[in-house]
């Protein structure tokens, strides 16, 4: 019935808006107790003493757990999951007296109510002895290459051709340093875990997770349990953006607390705790050098990134991946370095790596175009890469040219006055800017179980998750499409580790991975039914089941990446155009318009896809104009750790947003032809806005976010120089 490509309304929409969708903190196992955390305040050192009696004597307190009385867990070694840093070891909560960062949990209070637990937690007193550690000041002089154990995907050095030589000899050159601050996911739903042990020692966890199988595997190892002794349930996730990829220490603490209390325990993090208990996008400093011929052909791109990591884990990301493949440049070189601080470990946040790298690269490309007196779009088209020069492979599909054309047309790019500070609206300065977006298309093995009923309904199950993009809906559509059933007759179940294995819900690969497994499972189901004794050619499988008087039929299906990974390079692409209005006196920036065009492969649901795209644009406005963790490098703390002082866009910051998906399908990459549309939507937004601010004001501000203080100080600096 062709359900793929239809703008189907979210199948879980009614449950969400009527409040019947149950999020992690909202389950109510009988006799549940509540936990609250106590945090250390020094950035590095040891706990010298800890006094819990005042907290213990509060009526309603069940137990206070510290490193002194916490159960010794086996902490069996675990292979780093792809969501974990390649090197180092995650914090073991309440395991020893060592303090690795300010805000580390050092005690846990279990009580009859959440209020009692929090109030008693405030009564736990402690003393600490500071010690030397990695330090708190981000100093590139202390940078080092990522450790050996980290992935190939972020090599310390990579080069094609003689990039430095080409740079030195090129007629046109620019260079600059770009700063992207520490950014937080700040999903609406706080992280929460409810843990319950049954009489046989089996553990159930209701958790906020983008990967229930990973949480199960980690907890299994931490507690020395067998795989079938841990079940993780996570049917709804209220936004995550990567913060729920890993199994964080609080999950272990919830399970520990439930074991001590001998009853179910809920541990829900406060907003402030979310700034230390889970990760964040790392502060990253980048140097970019570009060189071109007189006619505007790029000869050399050299990009160096210094990323922040913690002192106990080597978190790296693919910041520099786009550098070698985004443009047709004669040579390219990347250098990746890490700077350790005494802080908690960063983690992927929407578009990890690429968003950061593209921000610097796309601002630099804009500067180069300006230096060449070329239109920024024309300059990019002049250096358009027809082939992935980094991998030296053809693209499995690339419709970036059509993204540029479509977005430019819709935006009205031809109305742009090439001169800076030349466009006005009353007293306001107007600027147009653009940037390219890119994100690797990925697929991982996934499996599903599908049962078709003779009454014409079907249920599809997998341990995948839906953090908000609409997995429930789009997977329902794939199954309905492939089973020739109306969408309403198909039910999709996810978010339970007892269901067939699914990969992490991240990296924009859920549709390519799980979607293709659903399609493969549907095909297998139809083939198997067609092969039943008595099946007739050409009849719908439901008719076969009815005629053969079978209530239902079930198959397991799976899909995995094919051989194309070795023969082709697969990426999603996009082009983002931004208009800004800058108040020249106050340095305040508004974004009246954003237009994005995306090559994301086949679009299964244009309605949820648009929602993804405009959501990314809103997040991009935040990244460009207001978001930043304010790190105090004396205290080792992010000072604005709450939603009053860490600003994200509100409705008044968002005006016209237009998202277009250009004609695209990638059947080389996978049978469904999909690429992925989640991360790409954030990529490119911030540099497009920053480039527009430059066009409006003539100020090249290479540090995000573009707050009034930065604009005013840049204006002053420009005036005095």
């Amino acid at each position: 019935m062709g359900a793929i490509g239809k703008p189907v309304a979210r199948v879980d929409g009614p449950a969400k808006v009527t409040g019947t969708a149950t999020y992690a903190a909202e389950f109510h196992p009988e006799n549940m107790a509540y936990a609250a955390l106590v945090h250390g305040t020094i950035p590095r050192g040891w706990i010298k003493s800890i006094a819990t009696d005042a907290a213990e004597s509060v009526p309603g307190v069940i137990a206070v757990v510290t490193h002194l009385n916490a159960p010794r867990l086996p902490w069996k070694p675990v292979d780093a999951a792809p969501v974990d840093p390649g090197e180092g070891e995650q914090l073991r909560p309440l395991h020893s007296d060592e303090i690795l960062f300010a805000g580390q949990p050092i005690a846990l209070v279990i009580a009859e109510s959440q209020e009692t637990a929090r109030a008693a937690a405030a009564l736990v007193s402690f003393t600490c002895v500071p010690s030397d550690g990695a330090g708190l000041v981000f100093d590139r002089a202390r940078a080092r290459p990522p450790s050996d154990g980290t992935r190939e995907s972020y090599p310390a050095e990579w080069e094609r051709g003689d990039a430095e030589g080409a740079f030195a000899s090129a007629p046109r050159r620019i260079e600059g340093s770009y700063l992207q601050p520490r950014l937080f996911h700040n999903a609406m739903e706080p992280h929460a875990t409810i843990a319950a042990w049954d009489d046989e020692g089996k553990l159930t966890l209701w958790d906020k997770s983008q990967w229930v199988d990973n949480v199960r595997d980690q907890i299994t190892r931490n507690f020395g349990l067998a795989e079938d002794e841990v079940r993780v349930i996570s049917p709804f996730v209220g936004g995550a953006f990567g913060s729920a990829l890993r199994c964080w220490p609080h999950v272990t603490m919830a399970a520990m607390a439930a074991r001590i209390a001998r009853r179910p325990v809920r541990l829900e993090l406060t907003r402030r705790e979310l700034y230390t208990a889970v990760g964040y996008r790392p502060y990253t400093l980048q140097d970019v050098k570009l060189a071109a011929d007189e006619d505007g052909r790029l000869r050399s791109v050299i990009q160096t990134a210094y990323g922040l990591t913690s002192a106990y884990e080597d978190y790296g990301e693919e910041v520099l991946d786009p550098v070698g493949m985004l443009y047709d440049t004669m040579s390219a070189r990347t250098v990746y370095r890490l700077v350790e601080l005494d802080t908690n470990t960063p983690t992927p946040m929407r578009g990890p790596g690429a968003v950061t790298g593209v921000f610097a690269l796309e601002m630099a490309i804009d500067e180069m175009a300006d230096a060449m007196d070329m239109d920024p779009l024309e300059f990019r088209l002049k250096n358009y890469a027809e082939r992935d020069l980094k991998k030296d492979l053809p693209f499995s599909s690339k419709a970036l040219r059509s993204c540029y054309e479509t977005a430019a047309l819709r935006f009205g790019w031809e109305k742009r006055d090439p001169r800076r500070r030349a466009m006005h609206d009353g007293n306001m300065l107007v600027g147009y800017g653009m940037a390219t977006a890119v994100w690797p298309a990925m697929q991982a093995p996934a499996s599903v179980r599908i049962r078709l009923f003779a009454n014409g309904t079907a249920v599809v199950r997998t341990a995948a998750s839906d953090m908000g993009p609409g997995t429930y809906t789009s997977m329902t559509q794939v199954a309905a499409d492939r089973l020739d059933l109306p969408v309403e007759r198909v039910t999709f179940e996810l978010g339970d580790s007892s269901l067939p294995m699914a990969p992490v819900h991240g990296g924009s690969m859920t549709m390519a991975s799980v979607g293709n497994a659903v399609a493969a499972g549907c095909k297998k189901l139809r083939d198997d039914i067609a092969r039943l004794d008595g099946a007739e050619d050409g009849e719908h499988p439901v008719e076969t089941l009815m005629r053969l008087r079978r209530d239902s039929f079930e198959v397991d299906g799976a899909a995995e990446p094919g051989a194309e990974a070795g023969t082709h390079s697969s990426y999603a692409f996009g082009a983002v155009f931004a208009e800004v209005r800058v108040d020249p006196d106050f340095g305040t920036v508004r974004v009246p318009r954003l237009v994005g065009a995306y090559d994301g492969g086949v679009i299964v649901n244009p309605r949820t896809a648009r929602s993804q795209a405009i959501g990314g644009m809103v997040q991009g406005i935040g990244m460009a104009l207001m978001e930043a963790g304010e790190w105090d490098d004396r205290l080792g703390r992010v000072m604005n750790a709450n939603l009053a002082e860490y600003l994200v866009p509100v409705h008044a910051d968002v005006e016209e947003l237009e998202a277009v998906f250009v004609e695209s399908e990638d059947r080389i990459f996978n049978p469904l032809g999909v690429k992925g549309i989640a991360e790409i939507a954030l990529c490119g937004v911030a540099p497009a806005i920053a480039n527009a601010v430059w066009h409006a004001t003539g100020l090249r501000i290479r540090e995000l976010p573009l707050t009034p203080d930065r604009l005013l100080m840049a204006e002053q600096a420009a005036r005095t120089s």
Binding site: A119, D585, N640, A644, E645, A652
Partner: protein, 329 residues
């Protein structure tokens, strides 16, 4: 259970009695700031006295000479009041850009000027802050102080007073009606708040047993010609990085007969700029006069690093506010 006690007061007299006799007890009105502090353990009072049941504090009373606001009048109630909008536009304009409609439905005019600073260190109870914990040091002075004050600071504290409403009230010469155990008294609004000096934890001049009963605003031609302008880091729902409440009275020749200028987001209390007001007097209301007078606003200003941009922003905000007001006259 948690060391937090709650009491309900039937009258302001009983409220003053209870808070006067319990150390660190506080009244609670809309609760929009007090609950944030309770949530984050920032100076949590041991006892809160709920005054929402007190009669007679919810009215906006209007006569020919003045307007009286009861302490429990909600911010949105003021915005909706045509007489206030007509006689004191700067107040309504300040409230329209305050918080969000949801917050304004709860927040009261009594609680608003007594909300605590947004200084990042004050709000994070595990950091040094003289205002929260006298003697512990000031985290902001050499720390992340982008939002902190350039006017009225001391070596002990440079926290800004965050209220918008209070800036307009200071500009328009409002009077605070105070009730305490010893009866009622009146206080010019500009004397409600204190400078931090070496006692930044003492923020206002109310005695422990005193509460705000309401305000009196005298109608004047000056107040009718008033305006509020706010600059902030995002489009809505955010405190000011700089704001100005201005009022102008012009004579027949178009010269400035009288002026009021108060600023917010840059000072440790709602800040009247007497020298700017004086400089405006007698001048033609031109952009040049505005800019020259506004430049005096930073005469005694001190920047501390991240907040240096306010030295440029403040005069421009005042000049723009005056220009916008001039266009309306």
């Amino acid at each position: 259970m948690s060391g937090l006690a709650y009491a309900r007061a039937a009258s302001l007299e009983s409220a003053t009695e209870v808070i006067g006799s319990h150390r660190a007890a506080e009244v609670i009105a809309g609760g929009t700031d007090l609950l944030q502090r309770l949530e984050e353990h920032v100076l949590p009072p041991p006892l809160v006295v709920d005054i929402n049941g007190v009669e007679g504090l919810r009215a906006i009373e209007v006569d020919d000479h003045e307007i009286r606001l009861g302490a429990l009048v909600r911010l949105n109630q003021v915005i909706e009041s045509a007489p206030v909008r007509d006689a004191f536009p700067a107040i309504v304009e300040a409230l329209i850009v305050t918080a969000s409609p949801q917050v304004r439905n709860l927040a009261t005019v009594g609680g608003n000027p007594l909300q605590k600073t947004r200084c990042l260190y004050f709000r994070d109870q595990s950091t040094p802050c003289n205002k929260r914990e006298p003697g512990s040091g000031c985290g902001a002075l050499e720390g992340r102080n982008r939002i902190n004050a350039i006017l009225g600071g001391s070596e002990h504290c440079i926290a800004t007073h965050p209220s918008d409403f209070a800036v307009a009230m200071a500009a328009l010469d409002a009077t605070v009606l105070v009730v305490g155990a010893r009866g009622e008294r009146r206080l010019p609004f500009t004397e409600l708040h204190r400078l931090p000096g070496d006692t930044p934890h003492l923020e206002h001049n109310l005695a422990p047993d005193e509460v705000i009963e309401g305000y009196r605003l005298t109608r004047t031609p000056l107040a009718r010609h008033s305006h509020y302008l706010k600059v902030r880091d995002r489009g809505e729902f955010e405190w000011a990085i700089c704001s100005a409440a201005v009022a102008l009275e012009l004579d027949h020749g178009g010269r400035i007969a009288d002026a009021r200028v108060a600023v917010g987001g840059v000072a440790t209390k709602p800040w009247r700029l007497g020298q700017v007001e004086t400089a405006l007097q007698g001048r033609q209301a031109t952009a040049e006069a505005f800019a020259e007078a506004a430049a005096l606003s930073v005469q005694n200003a001190v920047a501390h690093g991240d907040n240096a941009y306010k030295l440029a922003l403040l005069p421009r905000t005042i000049a723009r506010a005056l220009t916008e007001l001039r266009e309306r006259l």
